[in-house]
C-alpha cells in the first residue's frame, strides 16, 4: 500500500513536526487552571481569609446546590424562569424572523419597517424595564416582553442581513435556469441567509438570558431571580452563587444547542462536513 512510503516521504518534514509536538506536550490541559482557581478559593474560605458573608466556599455552594436540587426549590425556580425565557424567546423569534423576511424580500417592507426597527434598536432595551412596569404591571408580562425584545433585534438583524447579502450571481443563474420566484426564495435566498440568521440566533439567546436576569430582579415572586433576591436578604451568598451558576449553565446549554443546529443546518460547508464525518 501507499502507506509503506510514508516514513520516507515525511522524514524531510519531521524536525518541524516533532518540535511542535514536543512543545505541545508541555502545555497544561485547559481544565487545569480553573480547578486550581477553585482550589485556591476553597483554601481562602477554609482559612477564614474569605468570610462566608462575602462569598461562600465552593464546598458550601455545592452542598447547598445539591440540597436545593433535592428539595425541589431549584427545579421549581428553573421551571418558572425557563417558561419566561421560552415564551419570550418564541414571541421574539417569530416576530424577528417574520419582520426580517419581509424587510429582506420586499423593497416596500424595507422602506416602511426597517428604519423604525433600526431606531428602536438603538434604545437600551434593558433600560425599558421601568417603563414596562408602568405599562404592564409586575407580573409575568413585563418579564416576557423584555425577553422577547432582547431576542427580537439580534435575530431580526441577522435574518435581514442574511437575506440582503444573497449572492446576485446565484439569483441570475437560477433565473436563466428557469426557477420560479418561489423556488428562488426557497432554494437560494433563505438557505443563503441561514448562516447569518444563526449568528443572530446565538446573540439573541444570549440577550434573552440577560433580559431574563434583569427582568427577574424586579419584583419577582418566583423563579431564579426571586431565589437570588431572597437569598440576598439573608446574606446567603451560597444560594446566590448557586443561582449564578445555574444562569451560566443555562446560557452555556443554549449555546451548545445552537452550535448543534448550526452543525446540522450548515453541513454543506466543507469544514463542518469534515468534522461531522470524522466524529
Amino acid at each position: 500500500m501507499a502507506l509503506t512510503y510514508a516514513p520516507v516521504r515525511t522524514r524531510a518534514q519531521r524536525p518541524a513536526i516533532s518540535a511542535r509536538k514536543k512543545k505541545r506536550s508541555f502545555l497544561p490541559p485547559r481544565w487545569l487552571s480553573p480547578i486550581v482557581l477553585i482550589l485556591l478559593w476553597q483554601l481562602a474560605s477554609s482559612t477564614g481569609v474569605l468570610h462566608e458573608d462575602t462569598l461562600a466556599s465552593p464546598v458550601k455552594v455545592a452542598g447547598v446546590g445539591w440540597e436545593l436540587l433535592l428539595n425541589g426549590e431549584l427545579i421549581e425556580a428553573l421551571a418558572v424562569s425557563g417558561q419566561r425565557v421560552a415564551i419570550g424567546f418564541l414571541i421574539g423569534a417569530v416576530v424577528a424572523i417574520v419582520l426580517g423576511v419581509i424587510t429582506g424580500l420586499s423593497r416596500v417592507g424595507d422602506a416602511v419597517l426597517d428604519s423604525p426597527l433600526q431606531m428602536l434598536r438603538t434604545l437600551p432595551f434593558l433600560g425599558l424595564s421601568p417603563l414596562f412596569i408602568v405599562w404592564f404591571g409586575i407580573d409575568e408580562l413585563p418579564k416576557v416582553i423584555l425577553v422577547a425584545l432582547g431576542t427580537l433585534f439580534p435575530l431580526y438583524l441577522g435574518t435581514y442581513a442574511g437575506i440582503r447579502n444573497t449572492d446576485a450571481k446565484l439569483i441570475e443563474a437560477t433565473r436563466v435556469l428557469g426557477f420560479t420566484r418561489t423556488e428562488q426564495i426557497l432554494h437560494v435566498v433563505l438557505p443563503g441567509a441561514l448562516q447569518q440568521t444563526l449568528v443572530g440566533l446565538r446573540q439573541a439567546l444570549g440577550m434573552a438570558w440577560l433580559a431574563l436576569i434583569i427582568g427577574e430582579q424586579v419584583n419577582a415572586n418566583a423563579g431564579l431571580g426571586f431565589m437570588i433576591n431572597n437569598a440576598r436578604e439573608f446574606l446567603r451568598t451560597d444560594v446566590i452563587v448557586v443561582g449564578l451558576i445555574v444562569y451560566a449553565v443555562l446560557g452555556l446549554g443554549s449555546d451548545v444547542l445552537v452550535r448543534f443546529i448550526e452543525r446540522r443546518a450548515l453541513q454543506w460547508q466543507p469544514v463542518l462536513t469534515r468534522t461531522s464525518r470524522s466524529s
Partner: protein, 235 residues
C-alpha cells in the same frame, strides 16, 4: 429578408444595440445561429461578449434592435454557480418542472461522468467536477440554445482538455446550438463550426475551421494567425 424572422434559427439578432449611459457596448450587432450550430465568440475584455450573453439569456432585455431566441435557453457560467447548500443531484434537478426531474438529472450526471457524486456537496467538488455539474444542469433542460460563458477559463490545462472532449461529445449527443464565449483561440478552433470575433460591440471577423473532427492543431495554424490579427494582436 433582412427584417424577416426565420423561426427555424436558434438565434437571430438584427441591429442589436445596448448602451450604458454614454457608452455603447453593443453597436448594431447582427448574428444568426442555425439550429445545432456550434459558434465560438472571441473578443478582448470589454468587447461586449458578456453583455451579448446577458441579452441572449434573457437577463437583459433593455436593448434596441430585434432579438429572436428560440428557447429553451440554458447557460453554464465561468464560475459554476452551484447552490452550495443543495447536493449535486438537487442542483441539477431543481427548477425542472417535470415529474421525472430526478431521473433525468441522474442521467445527465452520468453523462458528465459524475453518477457517483450525486450526494456530494458542491463545495467538496474539484473545479472540473463542479463545472461538469454545471454542464449537466444546463443540458438537463434540453436547451435549443446552450450558452457557455468561458466555462473552462478557471480550470487547469489538463482538466480543460478533458472538458473540451466532453463538451464536444455532449453537443453531438444532444445537438443544441452552442454559443461559446472564450479567450482561448485554440479552444474555439477545436470545438466550433464558426468562430466570430467581437470588437467594440460589432462582429468584425468570421472564420470557419475545417469541417472534419477531431481537428488536428497543425491544420489550424494559419487560421489561428488570421484570428490573432483580427483581434489586433500582432506577433
Amino acid at each position: 429578408m433582412a427584417t424577416g424572422v426565420d423561426q427555424d434559427l436558434a438565434v437571430q439578432l438584427t441591429g442589436l444595440t445596448k448602451r450604458f449611459g454614454e457608452r455603447t457596448v453593443l453597436d448594431g450587432l447582427d448574428l444568426r445561429i442555425a439550429p445545432g450550430e456550434f459558434v465560438a465568440l472571441l473578443g478582448r475584455s470589454g468587447s461586449g461578449k458578456s453583455t451579448l450573453l446577458r441579452v441572449l439569456s434573457g437577463l437583459d432585455d433593455e436593448v434596441d434592435g430585434d432579438v429572436h431566441v428560440s428557447g429553451p435557453v440554458a447557460m453554464a457560467f465561468q464560475e459554476p454557480r452551484l447552490l452550495p447548500w443543495r447536493r449535486v443531484l438537487r442542483n441539477v434537478s431543481l427548477g425542472l418542472h417535470r415529474a421525472d426531474a430526478e431521473q433525468v438529472a441522474r442521467k445527465a450526471l452520468s453523462e458528465v461522468g459524475l453518477a457517483t457524486h450525486e450526494k456530494a456537496w458542491p463545495l467538496t467538488l474539484s473545479g472540473g467536477e463542479a463545472q461538469r455539474v454545471s454542464l449537466a444542469r444546463a443540458l438537463v433542460r434540453e436547451p435549443r440554445l446552450l450558452l457557455l460563458d468561458e466555462p473552462f477559463g478557471a480550470l487547469d490545462a489538463l482538466t480543460r482538455l478533458t472538458m473540451h472532449r466532453l463538451v464536444d461529445e455532449l453537443w453531438q449527443l444532444h445537438g443544441p446550438a452552442v454559443l461559446l464565449v472564450t479567450h482561448d483561440i485554440d479552444e474555439a478552433l477545436l470545438l466550433a463550426d464558426r468562430v466570430l470575433v467581437l470588437d467594440s460591440g460589432r462582429i468584425v471577423g468570421e472564420h470557419r475551421p475545417p469541417v472534419g473532427r477531431p481537428r488536428r492543431p497543425a491544420e489550424l495554424t494559419y487560421l489561428r494567425s488570421r484570428i490573432l490579427h483580427n483581434l489586433g494582436v500582432t506577433a
